[in-house]
């Protein structure tokens, strides 16, 4: 186990999440991609804490921040999906592309 291996795992999870966030049409699946990207950030933060600066707790605090960001993203995302679905019956990203371009 080395820092590089943990960071590779984090990069893999981040890239898979990025693929999902870019390619999925369903808004809910898109949010799953975003969650998977943050999942990779958790691994990277924990690995940096352990392999670079284990003496102070800043790396652990970063993990707390990421977990909170995940919860906020999920709650706000579903609230927006619910609002736009109620207003315009939209549940695909392509149907909500008014601001594209």
């Amino acid at each position: 186990m080395t820092l590089e291996l943990f960071l590779l795992l984090a990069a893999g999870l981040f890239a898979i999440g990025l693929y999902g966030a870019l390619s999925q049409q369903s808004v809910v699946m898109l949010m799953m991609g975003l969650e998977l990207m943050l999942n990779g950030v958790i691994v990277a933060a924990a690995a940096f804490w352990y392999y670079v600066a284990p003496a102070n707790a800043d790396g652990q605090v970063l993990i707390i921040v990421v977990i909170t960001a995940m919860a906020v993203e999920m709650a706000a995302g579903f609230a927006v999906v619910t609002a736009i679905f109620r207003a315009r019956d939209v549940d695909m990203t392509d149907m909500a592309a008014d601001l594209a371009g």
Partner: protein, 186 residues
Amino acid sequence: MSVVLFWVFGIGAVVTGFLVFRLDSMAQVTFALLASFLFVAGEVVLLGLGYLGVVIILMMVMEMVIMAVFMIMYMMNPAGLMPMAMYHNKRASVLISVGTFVALAAGIFVVDWPARSGRPPADTTYALGESLMGPQMLTMMTLGFVLFATILATVLLATSRGRYDRLGDDLRAARADDPVHGGIGR
């Protein structure tokens, strides 16, 4: 032992993460994502952060169970009976994500990471608590306000008809503007 666990958790996390975008049923997808989170929590525990690992496990189990409800609400393919292909721009997405991974991996091996300074404290949970209640208090307070703002914003967004829709922006309308009027017709 820990090396074996690292590989098991790591490969598990990546494989289940990949399955999220491969499985047909949205309910299965939710639980694949949950499995990926649990494997990552295992890695965090492996690094000596027992408290944070358990927090991730508990939080993600709750979050994914709530997510399963939403998934079923917005599900286009009940029970995965039909093959699901809801992609757009698939080729560019693959290219961008593979490119991102290659760039990150190159950076990981090229960068000269700093040497380890210090040792982990005997009780990492105690150190985290002391940090959050001391030097990182501002972080903790900011997180608290963000979570509170999220509660307000999500309730506002999810409300279908609130009191401002019914009684006007200054809440001074003589009678509520409801689609179906109640009462006895006065």
